[in-house]
Amino acid sequence: MTAMEALRIGVVVCGLGAAVALAVQVARARAFGRRPLYAPAAGSAARGVFYAFGPGMSPMAKESTRTHPWAYALGVAYHLGVFAAFGYLLLLLIGAERVLDPAMLPGRALGVLLFAGVLGGLGLLVRRFTTAHLRGLSVPDDAVANLLTTGFVALAGARLWSPALEPALLATAMLLLCYVPLGKIRHCVFFFVSRRHLGRHFGRRGTFPLRH
């Protein structure tokens, strides 16, 4: 087994480990139990969930995003970059990365996404440490999670042009995947769980979909 193969297997193992750890966390949250609801619904829980994951995700749907367009844009860029980096990682693991030649359009598009992701991540980090109230809210997890993730996205971008950086990318991916269940990156799963609950709650009450 070559060192590269070992790293790739390591990434897969860490990925599976992260998935299992996240699944355990969700299962433990579910073990807190769901109370039966007795009050008759005024609206539709399903419509509420649809709204929460659909129109409610629009930047115009919430004042918090409407009034902070830069923070919202940075967040979107960051997340697109992260998704793109994980997609690229998957291609590397199955040996299909050549479909993304940086000289061709798909490869260039990936490069743009990854670059935007790095800018988004760094922008959010700068925002966190230059905004008084965000500094006050922050804990070490905020810096660790951001640096690991942004580093991973940056290395994915660098690997696109320089195959020699692949070991560094794979090693960073392993670190990141090990960290996922420990810190705030667990929101990659809990975001969906929470938003579903929020949608159900406000959907039943007829508050969702919001009318402006």
Partner: protein
């Protein structure tokens, strides 16, 4: 000993056993949803401006994410492996005396449970629901501000939150009935009491008979004008339920049971909650959960009922009779938590010549600052008035001279804001506006609906 000192003394007296019991209580209040919410926050801070406390004081402790973090810290430290292994990484903290003190300040002192942060959370955390669970923990640990608890106790002991005796209530009803008859020139108009089998049981906030009889008179006028088959109850008539604010299902359930008992005793088909935000949320949404029983009758807000009357053509109004510019305040518990968003608007568009919306409005409207039991907690009065500055500014920007608020806690707070911020506005309920705009048909003989009351 002042109320603040008494609470501080209770905090100081906490033993390890008390803290362990508190933790167990907290655990018992968490369900699947809350456990997920507590692991979702990414501390983006975008919820900050959603909170009227933060908007008015710009203090870190007022940011919803910070309040949530106080609760999440305990959850992490005690209920997650990561929090136990590396507490410093994500801010996990044990449930000790300092933490409990921080909870009291955050949950009672800086939150009206308005839920605006929940709608603005980028990750979908129902923040106010989590804070309510933690508040309930404090209440059951005996760490609730005494004046808030007193309101609950008065309700439990006397059947209404102002301790109004049955005799006083019935005398007031009779007096308001006479006033209404004179005012509308219809001696047949009634406020029926304990009318068995009436279609509608109308419930009342005790502030109306005590301080705002014109509000009750207006509601009665509308019900009479619509030709409703209705009644009030001689007992179990108070729609308020501060169990919602103590966040104790035991409190809430015991108080809600009064209304349910009245419905059963009188055999009415629809329980109508007068204009009171928290009373509506408590009766319509929470009571069934507290009592673990689906109600066998319909529970509606008076706003919904009035809108039904209009749709059925049972009320005729002339908007020219209420000519001044008016705006509408959205009580959090009626609108955001209650889902009653449009009926009040439809009513006011019919009754007002110059109706303008606040910005923002509907479910995005700001809390006035009087919710969450804040009006009863004297130790936080200054903070409450300061936080209400956001609402005062909203009102001022509309240029309205009349503020319509379908909630008595909101009305009390708005009246204080009116003085504090020199707004120069008049504040009314929706029913008062409808009554003002009513076009009254000449009095005609009608079927006697009055049921004699044992006074």
């Amino acid at each position: 000993m002042s109320e603040t000192d008494a609470l501080e003394a209770r905090l100081e007296a906490l033993t390890d056993e008390d803290l362990a019991r508190g933790l167990a209580l907290f655990r018992g209040k968490l369900g699947e949803a809350e456990a997920a919410y507590l692991q979702t926050c990414v501390r983006c801070g975008l919820c900050a401006d959603a909170c009227h406390y933060y908007r008015s004081d710009h203090e870190l402790a007022s940011i919803p994410a910070h309040k949530l973090a106080q609760v999440a810290a305990v959850f992490r430290a005690h209920f997650t492996t990561g929090g136990r292994l590396a507490p410093g990484l994500g801010g996990a903290r044990r449930f000790d005396r300092d933490m409990v003190r921080a909870w009291v300040e955050a949950l009672f002192g800086r939150c009206s449970l308005c839920g605006r942060c929940s709608l603005n959370c980028t990750t979908g955390i129902h923040i106010s629901e989590v804070l309510k669970a933690a508040r309930g923990t404090l209440t059951e640990m005996g760490l609730i501000p005494a004046d808030l608890l007193q309101v609950v106790t008065t309700s439990l002991e006397t059947g209404n939150n102002m301790g109004i005796s049955r005799e006083d209530w019935l005398e007031t009803v009779q007096w308001i009935e006479e006033e209404m008859q004179q005012d509308i020139g219809d001696p047949a108009a009634r406020i029926p009491v304990d009318k068995q089998g009436a279609r509608v049981l109308f419930t009342v906030n005790p502030r109306e008979p005590k301080f705002f009889p014109l509000c009750l008179q207006a509601s009665a006028t509308v019900l009479n004008a619509a030709g409703e088959d209705w009644t009030v109850a001689s007992e179990g008539w108070d729609l308020t339920n501060y169990g919602l604010f103590s966040a104790s299902p035991a409190h809430g359930g015991a108080i809600a049971a009064n209304l349910m008992a009245s419905m059963e005793r009188l055999g009415c088909g629809t329980l109508v909650i007068g204009e009171c935000g928290h009373g509506f949320a408590a009766a319509r949404w929470e009571a069934a959960e507290w009592l673990r029983q689906r109600p066998g009758f319909r529970i509606v807000s008076f706003l919904e009922l009035m809108e039904e009357y209009f749709q059925q053509g049972r009320l005729r109004v002339d908007p020219a009779q209420v000519a001044e510019r008016a705006t509408l305040h959205d009580p959090c518990n009626t609108v955001r938590h209650g889902g009653i968003v449009e009926p009040q608007r439809a009513i006011l568009r019919r009754c007002l010549a110059d109706f303008v919306e606040m910005t923002p409005n509907r479910a995005e409207n700001f809390c006035c600052g009087g919710g969450g039991g804040q009006l009863s907690m004297s130790r936080y009065r200054q903070k409450r008035l300061q936080s209400g500055g956001v609402k005062a500014e909203q009102i001022r920007r509309t240029g309205a001279r009349l503020v319509v608020a379908p909630c008595h806690n909101c009305i009390d707070q708005l009246m204080e804001l009116n003085r504090e911020y020199k707004l120069g506005v008049v504040i009314k309920t929706v029913a008062e506006v409808v009554a003002d705009a009513l076009v009254r048909a000449p009095a005609q003989p009608r079927e006697e609906s009055h049921v004699p009351v044992a006074r």
